[in-house]
Every structure is written in C-alpha cells, then in structure tokens.
C-alpha cells in the first residue's frame, strides 16, 4: 500500500467517524424501549403513576406515587417464574435527585422487599432535586433474578438554589451532618499521609546515588535470589535501619489513628440489611371482574391495536372499563374517567356490565404510540399484547383483570 493510499484511507476513516459523531442524535431518557415488549407488558403493571411536580429547586422535594402490580402472568423464563425479592427505586441519570423517603403499602421501605406474584405495591417515593438540569425520571421495580422494569417517566426540571444543596442526616447523638462531604477531610487526609510515607519509601530506594536501578541487573543476575546483596554493596545496613524506621513510624501512625477513630466515633454498627414483606394494602383494587381474551389485531397503517375479550362481572355493582394499562402506557376511557386524558381507550359496547353478566367487549387504542414505543413485538419470540384492564363502578371503586392476547399483526 502506498503512502498516498494510506493517507486517503486514514482521511476516509476520520471523516466517517466525524460524520457518525455529528449525525448521531443525543441519547435521552433511559432506553426503556430497548427492553423486549413481552418483558414490559407481562411483568409489572403500573397504575395511577403520578408525579407531584415537574419543576423543583435544588433541595426541594417532589413525590412519585402509584401502584405497581407484580402480574400473575409473570413469565416463567424470569426469576424461575417465582419472583421473591424486589426493590422499588428510581431510574435517573445518576444522583441528579436523591431519595428521601420510600414507602410501600404505607410502610417505610429503605431496602429490598419480599414480593409475590399477583400482589399490589402502593409506593410513594419522596425525591429531592440535587443537580441543576432537565432530567428524565422513572419509578422502577427491580426483581432479583430478572432485572429492572421501568415505570412511566417524566421530565423533571431542577433549578438552582442560591444556597446550594445539602443532604442532611441526623446521627444517633442528635448531630446533623451533610452527607455531601461529611468525613471527607479524614478520608483524604489520612490517605495522603500514607501515600507520603509510600512516596518517601520509593524516593529512598530510587533517588540516592547508591541506589541505582537499571544497572543493578548486571549484579543481581549473578547472586542468589535470597541474597540481599549487602556483601557486594547493593544494599546496606543503613538500608535495613531505614526500612525499620519506616515500619515503626507507620505502625505508630496507624495506632494513633486507630485510637482517634475509636474516640471520635465511639458508636458504630455494621451496615444494615432491611428486608421484609410489606403488608397487603387495604384499598388495593378488587379482583371482582375476570376477563378472557380473544384475539388482538394490530393495524400498522393506523397504528391501532384492537383486543377482543369476554368480561364477567362477579361483583355486586355494575362496572365499566375505565383504563387499560400496559408497560408505561395508560389508555383511559374518557367517558368513564372524565377530565383530560393523554391517550384514549375506545370501548365497544359502552354500556356497563351488570353484576353476574358476561359480555363481549372490544377495546381499541389508536394513538400512534405502539410502533414508536416498540410495543408490538413483531420481531420477538412472544407475539402477545398484555396489560391490566381496570374496571370502575359508579362509586369509583376499581377492580382489575389481567389480559394477555395473542397478536395477529398485519405484516
């Protein structure tokens, strides 16, 4: 290859890389669409997710509340089909917000919880704005042996607080400390002291004229490995004395620091592991309506999903379909929920289902989101549409039924 060709090749590679960098769109949010559709639809159902605010100042709190259901149709391929340990957390681009409080079914839950299929978890996450910027925040439900499923996300603006940010905690003795920098002077100070000792040791062995490095090889290759070379002048008795002093000084400093930490921080406990099963929520949605799904048809031209199902009302009051929740999307039947809705759910026939009645229902969603959200799993191993159907009676009491319909896409 000639030099000219090589230069041209390098220029081409450089241009290709530059073009790639300039035309690549920024990566925003959290790649929630990258998870397979069946994972997002059949694992965790997200109901009534609410962000109390979309703009906070540094140090100001906002809450994320909602109900997460560990679905009965949890796939057998995840966590051996029997999820046991979970964690309700937050997905954010780093510590841009901090978690101040987390309750699950009304009980504070700092760590992991014991979970079971079919259970409802009413969560409340109190977050505090920390880093200035615009951030995409999600609640999340992580399951041991399976991974993390993201809930609906929201852009949150964190604006600057002229007084800065403090993350305060109260110690057992009443002292308030700022976790942003507490203990840092001790950490760095002590580490720097030990590094200075280490540097001094290295300087002793490398800088003086009587300690040469590279040229020693000519000598060391001619003496046994367990010979320190004192007899030939490689090392000396002075070296032995110096290293003894180093060790004594290091020992003394370590002893002093041990005594210091014992006196300065007399009460210490090991890291805590908190794990418990949250109580059953008293106002969880009832399961008084059952649903049997027929087929689901997806029309890619209209980006419309239609699901046929048979609903049986086993309750005592007439109910109507109010909502269909799948993955991070919520489709609401405006005729029942009232108010403004982001995504509409069309229910035919619209009449309520009487107590004891079994009715054929068709629900349709035409919002143009299925393809963009990658929720129609045409290229995947499981072609199903799944989610939670919410029914509501005239008093606002809710009941849910999970549905899982095989999709017949129009290719």
């Amino acid at each position: 290859m000639t030099r000219k060709t090589l230069r041209r090749l390098c220029a081409l590679v450089f241009m290709a890389l530059t073009l790639g960098l300039l035309t690549t769109p920024p990566a925003l949010a959290h790649g929630e669409r990258s998870q397979e559709a069946f994972l997002r639809m059949q694992t965790i159902g997200w109901l009534d997710t609410n962000f109390s605010s979309t703009s906070v100042q540094q140090g100001q709190t906002f809450t994320i509340t909602g109900t997460a259901k560990l679905m009965d149709q949890w796939p057998n391929s995840l966590a051996a089909g029997d999820p046991k340990i979970g964690y309700i957390g937050v997905i954010a681009p780093g510590p841009v917000v901090i978690v101040k409080e987390r309750t699950v079914n009304g009980v504070s839950a700092p760590g992991r919880i014991e979970i079971s299929k079919g259970s409802y978890y009413q969560y409340s996450l109190t977050l505090v704005g920390r880093r200035v910027g615009r951030w995409h925040i999600h609640p999340s439900f992580a399951v041991k042996g399976a991974g993390t499923v993201l809930g609906p996300g929201q852009w949150i603006n964190v604006t600057e607080n002229p007084q800065g940010f403090r993350n305060e905690a109260t110690l057992y003795n009443g002292d308030r400390v700022n976790l942003e920098n507490y203990g840092l002077p001790l950490v760095w100070g002590w580490q720097v002291v030990t590094v200075l000792i280490g540097l001094a040791w290295m300087l002793w062995w490398t800088v003086p004229k009587f300690h040469r490095t590279v040229t020693n090889l000519a000598v060391t290759s001619q003496i046994p490995l367990n010979d320190d070379g004192v007899a030939v002048g490689l090392n000396s008795k002075r070296d032995h004395r110096v290293v003894n002093w180093f060790v004594l000084v290091t020992l003394a400093l370590m002893a002093a620091m041990w005594i210091y930490q014992a006196a300065a921080y007399p009460v210490k406990i090991p890291q805590q592991v908190v794990q418990f099963a949250p109580p059953t929520p008293t106002d969880a949605p009832a399961d008084t309506v059952s649903a049997r799904t027929g087929k689901a048809v997806f029309d890619p031209a209209a980006d419309k999903l239609t699901i046929q199902l048979q609903a049986t009302n086993n309750g005592e009051r007439a109910v109507q379909v109010s909502e269909f929740s799948t993955s991070t999307l919520d489709f609401k039947n405006q005729a029942v929920t009232g108010g403004q809705v982001d995504r509409t759910l069309d229910v035919q026939p619209a009449e309520p289902i009487a107590p004891g009645e079994t009715k054929q229902i068709t629900i349709s969603m035409v919002e143009g989101v299925f393809q963009s959200e990658k929720l129609i799993p045409v290229g995947e191993a499981q072609l199903t549409a799944a989610g939670i159907l919410v029914f509501q009676d005239d008093q606002g009491q809710k009941s849910t039924a999970e549905i899982n319909a095989p999709i017949q896409p129009n290719f």
């Binding site: 510590p95 839950a109 507490y182 000792i197 300690h211 000519a218 370590m254 794990q275």
Partner: protein, 261 residues
C-alpha cells in the same frame, strides 16, 4: 589450603561484583532509572486498578459495600496480586523491596484520579461515597518482610497476613465515620446505608449488595475478625497468584530472549 582457596575465590568474586555495582556506564545514566520508574507507573497503576475492580470492584467502591464480612475477604486478595508480581520483579532485578509499595502508590494515584474525574466531576457522586481504599501502609509491611526474610515463601505467608491486617486497620479509620448509626425511614441505619439509599444508582437495586451474606456468623458475634483471618488466608493465595504472574508472564518470556538470566 582448600578452604583458603575457596574463600579466596569467593572474595575475588565479591570484589568483582562490588566493582560492577559501582561501575559507570557510557550510555546508561540515572535518566534511564527515572524513565523506567515514571513510565512503568501508568502500566502498574492500571494493572493494579483493573485487577482490583475485577475481583473486588463494588466492595472497594461504595461505602455501603464496605461491610465486615466480604470486604475484608475479597479486597486484600484483589490488591495483593499485582503488588506481589512487582515485588518479584523488583527484587529479582534490583534487590529492591519496593514492589508492593510502588504498586500501592501508583494504584492510589490512578484510582483517586478516576474517582475524582469520572465519578465526582462527570456524574457527580459525592466523593465521600465512592472513595477508594488505600493499600500503601499495608504494602510497606509486606516489603519490609521481604527485606528482612529475603524469602518469597516467608513473605507470602507472614507478609500477606500482615498486609491484610494493616490494610484493614488503615481503611477502617476512613470508614469509621460512616458506620455511625442514624435514624432514617423509621429505622436505624448507618450513614453508609443512607448514602447508598439516597444517591441513586439506577442499575444497582439494593438486593444486589452482597453484605452480611454468609453462614460463619456465630464466633461470639465478632464476624469481622473471622473474616480478617479468612481474608489473610485468601491473600496468601493471592500473593502466589501474583508470583505466578510475575514469574510466568513477566520474567520467563524475557529470559527466553536474553543470553543468560
């Protein structure tokens, strides 16, 4: 007479070696020494950091992972490996008891720079949550043992044990403030637990934290001392892994291409 002849021979050999120690070379001066020590620092620091992160990454990383059970077992093992390899190389080549300390200083520089730049400046985790452990004090003891015993077997045994205990003492001092109890979310937790809960780690749900997992728990409740003894034993194994790396990966290939080692 035979004894005298042998002693004379030995004396001649030593005189020859003494002259060789002090010999001045035309093209090799102290600048070579400086070039070696400074350029090798990057490689040694990187090797030590990678080894540590592979074997004991999270335990070295977060304060809420620095527990009394797994932290003392895994971290000394991870730290001693590259230091042991450098000990072999530097003792073999120059009779310098500096391998462990050199590795410790380079590692500290690399690890601290990484935490400060990547985790502090780039993603804004507070540095009192992600500070790396230091092995410098422990390394001095290990190098001292080598200087005194001149034996890798004894250094592997006594030095590795001293290394583990010294490492734990010197890092427990830094960890102490974060083990203080505090009231949080209706529970008593340590400050390190609160740091772990507060500062969002999206892909690290709390159940992934391997702390207090294990069955060897009944030694009068003093789990950390049992772990330390076990950690010292594991560090002895790590020392010999490092020796194998130094001998097999560093020295043996060079020996193949040099006239005589």
């Amino acid at each position: 007479m035979a004894v005298d002849a042998g002693t004379l021979e030995e004396q001649k050999r030593l005189d020859k070696l003494r002259q060789l120690v002090g010999r001045q070379y035309k093209y090799i001066d102290r600048k070579w020494d400086a070039v070696f020590w400074i350029t090798a620092a990057f490689v040694v620091g990187a090797a030590a950091d990678i080894t540590k992160l592979l074997f004991a990454g999270d335990w070295d990383f977060w304060t809420d992972w620095k527990d009394r059970l797994w932290w003392p077992i895994l971290t000394p093992f991870a730290l001693i490996i590259i230091g042991s390899a450098l000990q072999y190389i530097q003792w073999l080549a120059w009779r310098f008891p500096t391998g462990m300390t050199y590795t410790a200083v380079c590692l500290w520089a690399v690890a601290t720079l990484g935490r400060w730049l990547q985790w502090g400046w780039f993603v804004h985790y507070p540095l009192n949550f992600v500070w790396p452990t230091t092995m410098v004090a422990a390394a001095i003891f290990a190098d001292w043992v080598l200087m005194k015993t001149k034996s890798f077997v004894l250094t592997g045994l006594i030095g590795a044990i001293a290394f583990t205990f010294a490492w734990w003492v010197s890092n427990y001092v830094s960890l102490a403030p974060y083990l203080q109890p505090a009231q949080w979310m209706d529970r008593v937790l340590t400050l390190s637990d609160i740091q772990g809960i507060s500062y969002v780690r999206s892909q690290t749900p709390e159940y992934l934290r391997i702390v207090e997992h294990g069955t060897l728990r009944s030694f009068l409740g003093e789990i950390q001392y049992v772990s330390l003894v076990f950690g010292a034993t594991v560090a002895v194994g790590g020392y010999w892994i490092g020796q194998a790396i130094g001998r097999g990966l560093a020295i043996w290939p060079i020996g193949r291409f040099m006239k005589k080692w």
